[in-house]
């Protein structure tokens, strides 16, 4: 830990003019590297907090699944694997284009950047549309905990409370919380990518200043990674 970099040994560049406008160097940093690395460290710390934020849901999931395996086997029958898998592919693809966007920014390819961001945005929207269809169906058959009145069994037959596990609503509590929180993250991502898109239309990103693209992409990948876990945990339970 003690060897971790500080600006200590770097030459002091107090004169900001040395780095011209295009570096967007804030007054309290000495060099663009210091600024960039601070930002990088900040965003990684933030991603760490995101993981711990979601960890609560994973803990709840794990404990209930371990203690009530039957509940999970039964309930995951309600979920549509095809939709889940489609969404997985959509998100993975958007991750690719997000990474591509960063590359374009780093290489000063403005057009490529705009296209890559636009595709990412489209994928994010697609994801939300599919989620919406799924949610709508769940709510329609009464599987929303707040308005709990199940009408169907997983196979579509009439709901039979004698067969369904007594704490079925907890599975859907967990399902809606996990996918809901993830969905909120996707929505935030949509906002951020739109913002990037506008700025890249204005040509604000260059090989010297691409931090926002880089950081939003990192955020977007974390959203993807979380989904990579949610998908098998919720949809692919052997019944």
């Amino acid at each position: 830990m003690s060897s971790a970099n500080s600006v200590a040994d770097k030459p002091d560049h107090d004169a900001h003019s040395e780095f011209g406008e295009e570096w967007h160097l804030a007054h309290h940093f000495h060099t663009p590297e210091q600024q960039f690395e601070s930002g990088k460290m900040g965003i990684w710390l933030f991603l760490g907090t995101e993981i711990l934020f979601f960890s609560g849901l994973f803990v709840a999931y794990a404990l209930y699944r371990f203690n009530h395996p039957d509940l999970f086997e039964f309930a995951s029958g309600y979920l549509d694997t095809t939709m889940g898998a489609t969404n997985t592919v959509v998100l993975i693809f958007s991750s690719l284009t997000a990474a591509w966007a960063v590359r374009c920014a780093q290489l000063n390819q403005r057009k490529g950047l705009i296209i890559a961001l636009a595709i990412t945005l489209a994928c994010a929207a697609t994801f939300m549309v599919i989620k919406y269809i799924e949610y709508k169906h769940k709510i329609h058959i009464g599987l929303f905990p707040g308005a709990w009145s199940p009408t169907e069994m997983p196979d579509g037959s009439a709901f039979d409370p004698k067969v369904a596990p007594y704490n079925l609503s907890i599975f859907f509590g967990i399902y809606f919380c996990m996918t809901g929180l993830h969905g909120i993250h996707v929505l935030i991502g949509i906002g951020l990518i739109t913002w990037l898109l506008i700025r890249s239309f204005k040509g604000e990103f260059t090989d010297k200043y691409f931090t926002p693209v880089d950081f939003v992409a990192l955020y977007w990948h974390i959203v993807d990674v979380i989904w990579i876990f949610l998908f098998p945990l919720l949809y692919l339970i052997q019944g």
Partner: protein, 113 residues
């Protein structure tokens, strides 16, 4: 900073990006495919292993973690370790007190369900 360094940070080649994408698609297919077989308790293990592999390649290549400073890797990994700690210790307790809950449920009239 790593050797293949342009300006402020690492730039991935398109080849890498697409190779990673292809791998991710492949693993998605595998995990969906495997889930169709009855594998009992291996089910979860396999699904989680595949998910972990996918997450690792996303973070290594899409997120450039492989080329990151050690410090940032430490940050990321330790947040995962603390999440595991949280899970592990709560599970130690929450899985052992289940019999008290089961005992209780066993004597509840059915209408409570």
């Amino acid at each position: 900073m790593s050797h293949d360094d342009h300006g402020l940070s690492h730039i991935s080649s398109l080849k890498t990006l697409f190779a990673v994408f292809a791998l991710l698609l492949f693993f998605t297919a595998v995990t969906v495919g495997v889930s169709r077989f009855e594998l009992g308790r291996w089910d979860l293990t396999i699904a989680m292993t595949i998910a972990t592999v996918k997450a690792v390649i996303v973070s290594m290549y899409f997120m450039h973690l492989r080329y990151e400073k050690a410090l940032n890797i430490v940050i990321f990994v330790s947040s995962i370790l603390f999440a595991i700690l949280f899970l592990g210790i709560s599970a130690l307790d929450a899985t052992t007190y289940q019999d008290r809950i089961k005992e209780y449920r066993a004597v509840q009239p059915l209408e409570d369900n």
